[in-house]
């Protein structure tokens, strides 16, 4: 592998890994957001029933 091959390997691994982490973080974020909204809706319904 030539010098540019090593440079490309380093840049590819770094930015590829960061991109994968960002995608995974976004997915976890969306899942938590959906779950939180669902639980809040359930809690509100229960409050209404109790009231």
């Amino acid at each position: 592998m030539g010098p540019w091959g090593f440079v490309g390997l380093a840049y590819g691994i770094v930015w590829g890994t960061i991109l994968i982490y960002w995608f995974c973080l976004k997915r976890r974020y969306k899942e938590a957001e959906t779950e939180l909204a669902r639980l809040k809706a359930v809690a509100e319904r229960l409050d209404d029933v109790e009231a």
């Binding site: 090593f6 380093a10 890994t17 960061i18 960002w22 973080l25 974020y29 938590a32 939180l36 809690a43």
Partner: protein, 235 residues
């Protein structure tokens, strides 16, 4: 904990957009505009990733240290969330630093890895914080996990001064700091055409770091709210 305000979401979006712009400018400057180094040639371009990523990792562990200390002192959940979030991102940047360093080492030293003091201590740093994340996920009781994590988070941070001083205390293959030295200003140690892309990349990594940290921190907040709501439902 309240739902996230639209202002905070907008701020997060602005930091993300700035980070993306800085990353693209950094890539253009590092790979196209910057000249090759007089001694190392093109492979020196790995430095534009290597130094910003380790500085980002150090900043992350500093926040783990602060968050852990504050949690042990005040027992406020937000400090624990900060420490946990910063540890996760710190692990990412430490692992990337070791990988970049390994590729750079292969081209300059002829080996992918050597048991040099600085490299070994950095690997230990990575293991400590991987251990931190494992510990957090293995202890079911949230408060106990937070306390155990805080203790390990503080102990782990003590490795960073050792990493910094390792090149002075031991004979290592890794060179001593060549840019950030106490005796000279950075521009006296490196030519401006090489310093400019380095500064741009440090700024880009820091913006990216604060963007990722804000996302991860909010995720931690939401998870805490979910746990509270679930406990309320069960009660």
């Amino acid at each position: 904990m309240a739902a996230q305000a639209p202002v905070k979401k907008k701020r997060k979006g602005i930091v993300g957009a700035l980070a993306l712009a800085a990353i693209l400018i950094g890539l253009y400057w590092s790979l196209i505009v910057a000249p090759p180094d007089a001694y190392q040639g093109e492979v020196q371009r790995i430095m534009y990733l290597h130094l910003p990523s380790i500085l980002t990792a150090y900043l992350s562990y500093f926040l783990v240290f602060i968050g852990s200390g504050m949690y042990l002192w005040k027992r406020e959940k937000r400090d624990d969330i900060l420490a946990h979030s910063a540890a996760e991102i710190g692990v990412l940047f430490t692992a990337l630093t070791i990988i970049e360093g390994s590729i750079w080492g292969r081209t300059t030293w002829g080996v992918w890895w050597t048991w040099d003091a600085r490299l070994t201590l950095t690997a230990i740093l990575l293991l400590i914080y991987v251990g931190y994340l494992m510990l957090r996920s293995l202890i079911e009781d949230e408060d106990r996990a937070a306390v155990a994590g805080a203790v390990l988070g503080i102990i782990g941070f003590l490795d960073i001064p050792l990493i910094h001083m390792s090149v002075y205390w031991w004979r290592t293959l890794h060179q001593p700091p060549s840019i950030l030295r106490p005796d000279k200003a950075p521009w006296e140690n490196i030519a401006w055409p090489l310093l400019v892309p380095l500064i741009i990349n440090i700024v880009a990594f820091l913006l990216l770091y604060f963007y990722l940290l804000s996302l991860r921190y909010r995720l931690g907040e939401m998870r805490a709210e979910i746990r509270t709501l679930r406990l309320q439902r069960e009660a």
